[in-house]
């Protein structure tokens, strides 16, 4: 089939779904709305597959399907086309977005069927998919930015979906405003890049990147990429702009799975990978990215340990995993970042949907202290959740293992990495194993703490089928990127992933092949530590539930600090938001009300006074008017004569 037609179907199918469901937003039938939306995304998925199949059949070096629908704007030298590109990087993204998207839509039919705004919900969801596709397919930063803003909007709408609850509406706004801060930086980055290169097109930017050498430590390239990275921290929830993501859990759980775990939050990583030749030329930016990524990975993981809301734990876990991706990007392991992006999309979507199934089965209960022993009530959810758990803690041969260990290997060995970054990564992995095991133990294992009037039940097939599919993917998706060191023991299994992305990824300057012994040792370290930590967590929370409490008691100040998320929200409120509000209030009161308003009132009073004076002249007495004319003639005439 024609590529531009396929591309149009790929992008527009969810949009059509959005229009249909948007037009019937008052309807309550979840099955109809859900079917429409799911079919729309499925159509999109099928065209994505067809496009990728075509892409694979092309020769490796020229793999690129570019379609330009029309010229969007042309201002002097600044030309932007509504152009879309499927290449090695965006191919992965469209498959993940539409594939996982379809599963989550399917799951949503079961999860949302009793909600009154179900048609609206599916309309938003489809709109999100549409915007996400714009984001990943856009061939220039500006087209990407359209999608970037669009997904931000959908995220806001869906977080605040139950907007009658003030807290949830506020969470939506928090997400939106935090994202706006990042977006402003993103725009600045675009400006800097446009001034430097005169184009915003990705392929042109990437081609021009090696020609620009950075002379100073903060040149145009570093500045531009740094701004783009700040934009990415907003969208991808990194320090310091991560605060919105945990609150974003106020939205429906499938939304958390789709937007706040699998797709939208990875947009920042995707953007950097897309521009990797540019970023690799700015080593200072890379260093910043790696440090922020590693710090976020550890920081979020520590908070995750103390959380009691099942979704909050997963949210902090997401922040932490995104930190991993940025760590990978920062040390130049763009392929590994994309790899982790994909595997994370599978297992985190799986776990979020699993948590959704648990919440659904527990009748909207989210506190894991009130769960426990759900294994026997929800066997399928439990099994699939275990798969996700094994994947995220990096159990060998599960998907998370391959991607995470590739990142750690790069962090250690890359000239841009360092053992400190690697150590941070390992600490993060250890903590991840701990809090995920804690989550498993408190939710599914051990004694039941479910209150007697709640009767947990397994979810319907429409919800468990997506779980099963995602579980299979979580287990096996890693096998397409098996590193050589393991692959040679598995009958010389090739690393498909590396081959696939190779033409798109810039080589790291000064890279030397990693020695196999080192790789084994690194792998052993992280797996060993994770295993130990998982066993400890199991001991703590299943065997002797009293121990963690005792430990928490003994280090109370530290526990409180972590449990309250390091008081980051409070610090933002005290340090930035409240001063800003006060400043605004003062400017409003002193400048606007007392100065500008008074001035305008004064001007108004002046005109009104003049008007009431002049009005006294207009009596309606015609002869008086005639008199005025006469006086006017006299004055004019005397002026002429006296001159």
């Amino acid at each position: 089939m024609n590529h531009s037609l396929l591309m149009a179907i790929l992008i527009l199918a969810p949009f059509v779904g959005f229009l249909i469901n948007g037009a019937r937003y008052k309807k309550h039938s979840g099955n109809v709305a859900g079917s429409i939306a799911t079919v729309a995304v499925a159509i999109s998925f099928i065209s994505a597959i067809l496009l990728v199949v075509d892409l694979i059949s092309m020769p490796a070096e020229g793999r690129r399907i570019a379609v330009s629908f029309f010229e969007w704007m042309a201002i002097d030298k600044f030309k932007v086309n509504a152009g879309f590109v499927v290449d090695q990087i965006s191919a992965i993204m469209i498959l993940v977005i539409t594939g996982v998207g379809t599963l989550i839509h399917l799951f949503s039919i079961g999860y949302m069927h009793h909600d009154k705004g179900v048609a609206k919900y599916f309309a938003y969801l489809n709109l999100f998919i549409f915007n996400m596709l714009l984001l990943v397919l856009g061939d220039s930063l500006l087209v990407m930015f359209v999608g970037w803003e669009g997904v931000g909007l959908c995220s806001y709408l869906l977080i605040g979906f139950w907007f009658t609850d003030k807290e949830k509406a506020a969470a939506g706004m928090k997400a939106f405003i935090t994202n706006r801060i990042g977006d402003a930086a993103f725009l600045l980055g675009m400006f800097v890049l446009f001034i430097t290169f005169g184009t915003l097109n990705f392929s042109e930017l990437n081609a021009l990147a090696p020609t620009v050498a950075e002379s100073t430590w903060l040149g145009a390239l570093t500045l531009g990429t740094l701004f783009l990275f700040i934009g990415a921290t907003g969208k991808s929830a990194q320090i310091p702009l991560y605060v919105w993501l945990p609150d974003a859990m106020a939205g429906p759980t499938p939304v958390s799975a789709l937007i706040h775990a699998a797709t939208m939050v990875t947009a920042g990583v995707y953007m950097i990978v897309r521009l990797n030749p540019l970023f690799i030329m700015a080593p200072n930016t890379m260093m910043v990215i790696a440090i922020i990524g590693a710090a976020t990975a550890v920081f979020a993981a520590t908070i995750g340990i103390t959380q009691n809301d099942i979704k909050k734990v997963l949210a902090y876990s997401t922040v932490s995993q995104l930190g991993y991706m940025f760590l990978a990007v920062g040390v130049g392991a763009f392929g590994a970042a994309m790899f982790h992006l994909m595997t994370h999309a599978f297992f985190k979507a799986l776990m979020f949907l699993g948590s959704g199934s648990v919440i659904h089965g527990m009748h909207e209960e989210q506190d894991i202290r009130k769960m426990g022993g759900l294994k026997k009530y929800m066997p399928i959810t439990h099994i699939t959740f275990v798969m996700g758990w094994l994947a995220i803690i990096g159990t060998p041969l599960f998907s998370g293992f391959f991607s995470k260990d590739e990142i750690l290997a790069y962090a250690f060995h890359s000239p841009m990495g360092s053992p400190i970054l690697w150590a941070a990564g390992v600490v993060g992995a250890t903590l991840t194993a701990f809090y995920m095991t804690r989550l498993m133990a408190l939710t599914f294992w051990g004694k039941s703490r479910v209150s007697p009037d709640v009767h947990p039940h397994e979810s319907s097939a429409i919800m468990t089928i997506p779980l099963i599919i995602l579980a299979i993917l979580s287990v096996f998706a890693g096998w397409i990127g098996v590193p050589h060191v393991i692959g040679e023991h598995l009958g010389h299994m090739p690393n498909f992933w590396e081959h696939w992305l190779h033409p798109m990824i810039s080589p790291i300057p000064g890279w030397t092949a990693i020695d196999h012994t080192t790789e084994w040792v690194l792998m052993g370290c992280s797996v060993g530590l994770a295993t130990v930590s998982a066993i400890v967590a199991y001991q703590f929370y299943v065997k002797s539930p009293e121990t963690p409490k005792k430990i928490a008691e003994s280090i109370k100040p530290v526990y409180n600090l972590v449990n309250n998320k390091y008081f980051v929200d409070e610090a933002y409120f005290g340090g930035i938001i409240n001063p800003l509000i006060n400043l605004s209030k003062n400017t409003w009161y002193y400048i606007d009300v007392n100065f500008i308003d008074k001035m305008t009132f004064w001007a108004g009073d002046l005109v009104r006074g003049m008007g009431s004076f002049v009005r006294s002249v207009q009596t309606g007495n015609m002869q008086q008017y005639a008199m005025y004319i006469g006086i006017g003639v006299v004055v004019a005439l005397s002026f002429v004569i006296m001159r």
């Binding site: 009596t619 309606g620 007495n621 015609m622 002869q623 005639a626 008199m627 006469g630």
Partner: protein
């Protein structure tokens, strides 16, 4: 006494005469209250203007002034017709021709 001013009639005499007539008409417009007298005063003013036109026409030796007189006359007649029609219509409605009464004809 210089009798030149009295015996030798020139353009100036006509102009002054016209000016006085105009001023009389204007005074009528300003002080009279009857709409019909008001219209008559306007006719007076227009006539005085006609007088200047013809006087200038003669003393400058150009005929165009006469043409202007035609135009003024026609418009004066038209104005009188419409003004009187309005006066009739208002009188029929309110039985009143006092100009001050028309102040209340708003909205």
């Amino acid at each position: 006494m210089n009798t030149e001013f009295i015996t030798n009639i020139g353009l100036t005499h006509y102009l002054v005469l016209a000016a006085l007539l105009f001023v009389i008409g204007m005074a009528g417009v300003l002080v009279r209250r009857n709409v019909i007298v008001l219209l008559m005063s306007i006719e007076l003013m227009l006539n005085s203007v006609n007088l200047t036109f013809v006087a200038f026409s003669k003393y400058l030796g150009i005929l165009d002034g006469h043409i202007m007189v035609f135009f003024v006359m026609t418009i004066a007649a038209a104005e009188a017709a419409v003004g009187l029609a309005l006066a009739v219509s208002i009188f029929k409605r309110f039985n009143e021709v006092n100009i001050r009464f028309f102040e209340h004809l708003k909205g």
